[in-house]
C-alpha cells in the first residue's frame, strides 16, 4: 500500500517525476554506454595485437652491443623445457622487384612460419625457390600463386599469399615476403634477428622467460626477453583505467540526476507538509513517513535506472559504431555487467538523494506540519 501511495504521489506531479526519471535515464545510460564502449575499445585493441598470451619474443640486447642472436644461443634457447613452439626469425629490409618495379619491403627468413602467419591462398610450405607474399604487397601488385618476384637478381616463385596480419610485435610481413632460412642465407647470410617462442601455457610463460634469462644471460645481458602476456596485461590495465575514468566523467550526469531527485523530493516534502501532519495526527510513525517518501525516490530511481540500463545497449551500440565502426563487441557478456553496474549506481544515487528529504519529512513535528498552509 505504501508503494501505491508513493506511486500516486509521483503521478500527482507527473511532469516533474518524468523529468527526474529522464535525468536518471541519461545518467545511467551515460555510465553504462561508456562502460560498454570502454570494454569494446579494450577488446578491439587486444584483438589487433593478436592476443596470444603465451608468446615470448627474444631480442638481441642492442644496448649491450648485440645486433643479432647467434645459432649457438638460438639452439640453447630451443632446448629450454616448457617451450611448445620455437621460431627463429631472420629479417632484412631490401628492394623486392615485382613486375619490373622495385618495392622496399621486409624479407623474413623463417623455416616454419605457420605459428606467426595465416595463409589465404596457396601453401605455407617453403623451399629454396619459392616465397610467401604479404597481403598488402600481393594486393597492390596483383601477385598470385605462381607469380614471379626477384631480390638482387635471385628469382622466387610466389607459392602462397598471406592473410593480412596487421600491427604486431613479432613479424609484420604484410608489405614484405617470407622465404625459407636457406634462401635467406643464400641472399644475405647472418644470424637471427629475433626469436619467437610459445610457452605451453599462460602460467608457464614466466618460467620459460626466467629460464631463457638464466641460460643465455648468465654472463651479461645478451638478449632482452619480452613477454606478450605482460604487454596484454598492461593494455588491459590501461584500458580498464581509461574506461573507469570515462565512467567517472559520465557519473557526473548521474550525480546531476541525483540532485534533481533530491530537489523534487525536497519540494514535495515542503508542498506536502500539511499532509505529513495529517498522517502523523492519524497515527503514522516517523518510520512510516520515511518509508513513503523514500519509496518515492526509489520508484524514480528504479524506473529511470532500468530504462537507462536497457537503453544503454543502444547507447553503447551507437558509440561503438561511430568510433570503432563495429558493434561486434557490444553483445558480449561483459556488457551486462556494465548495465548492472549502471543500474546499481542509479539505485544508490536515488536512495542517497531520497534519504535526506524523507528524513526531513519524517522529523516534522505533527502540530507544526498541521498548521502549515
Amino acid at each position: 500500500m505504501y508503494l501505491e501511495i508513493a506511486r500516486r504521489n509521483l503521478k500527482r506531479q507527473r511532469m516533474r517525476s518524468v523529468l527526474a526519471i529522464v535525468g536518471m535515464i541519461i545518467g545511467v545510460m551515460a555510465i553504462s554506454s561508456i562502460g560498454i564502449f570502454g570494454n569494446s575499445l579494450k577488446m578491439s585493441t587486444l584483438e589487433v595485437f593478436g592476443g596470444v598470451a603465451t608468446e615470448i619474443i627474444v631480442y638481441p640486447s642492442y644496448q649491450d652491443g648485440y645486433s643479432s642472436i647467434d645459432p649457438h644461443t638460438a639452439l640453447k634457447i630451443s632446448k629450454i623445457p616448457g617451450i611448445q613452439d620455437f621460431i627463429a626469425v631472420k629479417s632484412r629490409t631490401d628492394y623486392i622487384t615485382v613486375r619490373k618495379e622495385r618495392v622496399f619491403g621486409t624479407v623474413y627468413g623463417i623455416d616454419d612460419p605457420g605459428q606467426l602467419v595465416k595463409i589465404s591462398r596457396g601453401s605455407l610450405v617453403l623451399s629454396s625457390s619459392n616465397c610467401l607474399a604479404g597481403a598488402v604487397l600481393a594486393e597492390k601488385y596483383g601477385l598470385r600463386v605462381g607469380s614471379k618476384i626477384s631480390i638482387n637478381g635471385y628469382s622466387l616463385r610466389v607459392s602462397g599469399i598471406l592473410k593480412e596480419k596487421g600491427r604486431s610485435f613479432d613479424i609484420n610481413p604484410d608489405r614484405g615476403i617470407i622465404v625459407s632460412e636457406q634462401t635467406f642465407n643464400r641472399l644475405y647470410g647472418g644470424d637471427y634477428s629475433f626469436i619467437v617462442v610459445y610457452a605451453g601455457s599462460v602460467t608457464g610463460v614466466k618460467k620459460v622467460s626466467d629460464q631463457i634469462d638464466s641460460v643465455v644471460n648468465r654472463r651479461g645481458t645478451v638478449v632482452k626477453i619480452w613477454e606478450m602476456k605482460d604487454f596484454l596485461e598492461s593494455i588491459n590495465r590501461a584500458f580498464t583505467y581509461i574506461s573507469r575514468f570515462l565512467m567517472a566523467i559520465a557519473g557526473v550526469s548521474l550525480l546531476v540526476a541525483g540532485v534533481s531527485i533530491l530537489n523534487i523530493m525536497l519540494m514535495s516534502t515542503i508542498e506536502r507538509t500539511k499532509e505529513i501532519g495529517i498522517m502523523k495526527a492519524i497515527g503514522a510513525s516517523r518510520s512510516e513517513i520515511l518509508t513513503i517518501f523514500l519509496l518515492e525516490a526509489i520508484l524514480l530511481g528504479v524506473t529511470g535506472s532500468i530504462l537507462g540500463g536497457v537503453l544503454s545497449i543502444a547507447g553503447g551500440y551507437a558509440i561503438d559504431m561511430i568510433i570503432l565502426k563495429s558493434a561486434k563487441y557490444v553483445f558480449v557478456s561483459k556488457t551486462f555487467l556494465y548495465i548492472a553496474q549502471g543500474i546499481g549506481f542509479g539505485l544508490i544515487t536515488a536512495v542517497v538523494s531520497g534519504l535526506y528529504p524523507a528524513w526531513k519529512a519524517s522529523n516534522l513535528e505533527p502540530i507544526d506540519a498541521l498548521r502549515y498552509e
Partner: protein
C-alpha cells in the same frame, strides 16, 4: 442511580507558552479540566482563546510547557514519541475543520490509512473501511477521490477515518466550520450518535448551535477557564 464514570482525560494546571520572536504567547494559562468516559463536551471560546491548543494537547499532538495532561491516567509528558503516536493511532480519532483527507487516496483508502499504520490485514481493513463509510452514509461513494466529494461528504469520510481504529475519544476541531447549516447538522447528528454508543466526544467550536449538541460546555478565554 447513575454509576460513577471513569475519568478519561485530565488536565492539571496546563500552561502552554509559544515563543514568537521576542514575544512570548501564553496560549494556555493554567487550565485544569476533567472529562469522563462517554461525555460529549464542547469547548467554546473566541478565536485566539487557546481552544485549539487545548484540543491538540488532548490529542497528543502537543505537550504542555507546564502542568500535566493525562490520558487514561498516564501523563503525555512522560510518553515517548512512539507512545504518543500509538495513542493518536489507537485511542484518538481526529476530525478537522478542513477535513484533511489525503487527496491522492479514495474515500475508502483514506479510511484505511489509520488501519494501515496499525498493520491491520488488507481484507479486514477494506471490509471495515467499507462498513464505516456505510455507517456515515458514504457507502456508495467509497471509490471517489476527495476532490469529487462535497464538503459535507468529505467530513463524513473524515469521521469514518477517525473511527477506523475504534478509538474511545473523538476530537473535532470546528467540524462544521466549512459546512452549510444542514450539512453541519448532519455531521453533528453523526457525532451525537457516536456519543450514544459510548464514545467520548470533544468538540471545539465557537458556534452555539454546535455546542447545543454537547452535554457540557467548557468556556475558555485568554487561555483560562471562563467561569463567568
Amino acid at each position: 442511580m447513575e454509576k460513577e464514570k471513569r475519568e478519561i482525560v485530565r488536565l492539571e494546571k496546563v500552561v502552554k507558552t509559544y515563543h514568537m520572536g521576542e514575544h512570548t504567547v501564553h496560549a494556555l494559562n493554567g487550565i485544569s479540566i476533567s472529562i469522563s468516559e462517554g461525555e460529549f463536551v464542547a469547548i467554546m471560546g473566541p478565536s485566539g482563546s487557546g481552544k485549539s491548543t487545548l484540543l491538540n494537547m488532548i490529542g497528543c499532538l502537543d505537550v504542555p510547557t507546564e502542568g500535566r495532561v493525562l490520558i487514561d491516567g498516564v501523563s503525555t509528558a512522560e510518553m515517548t514519541e512512539e507512545e504518543l503516536t500509538r495513542i493518536r493511532r489507537d485511542r484518538i480519532g481526529f476530525v478537522f475543520q478542513s477535513f484533511n483527507l489525503i487527496p491522492t487516496l479514495s474515500a475508502r483508502e483514506n479510511v484505511e490509512l489509520p488501519m494501515i499504520f496499525r498493520k491491520v490485514g488488507e481484507k479486514e481493513r477494506k471490509e471495515r473501511a467499507q462498513k464505516l463509510l456505510e455507517k456515515v452514509g458514504m457507502g456508495d461513494k467509497s471509490d471517489h477521490r476527495p476532490s469529487e466529494l462535497s464538503g459535507g461528504e468529505q467530513q463524513r469520510v473524515a469521521i469514518a477515518r477517525a473511527l477506523a481504529n475504534d478509538p474511545s475519544i473523538i476530537l473535532a476541531d470546528e467540524p462544521t466550520g466549512n459546512l452549510d447549516t444542514s450539512s453541519g447538522n448532519e455531521i453533528m447528528n453523526i457525532m451525537k450518535e457516536l456519543n450514544r454508543t459510548g464514545r467520548t466526544i470533544i468538540v471545539v467550536t465557537h458556534d452555539p448551535s454546535v455546542a447545543d449538541f454537547a452535554e457540557r460546555i467548557i468556556r475558555i478565554r485568554d487561555g483560562k477557564l471562563d467561569v463567568s
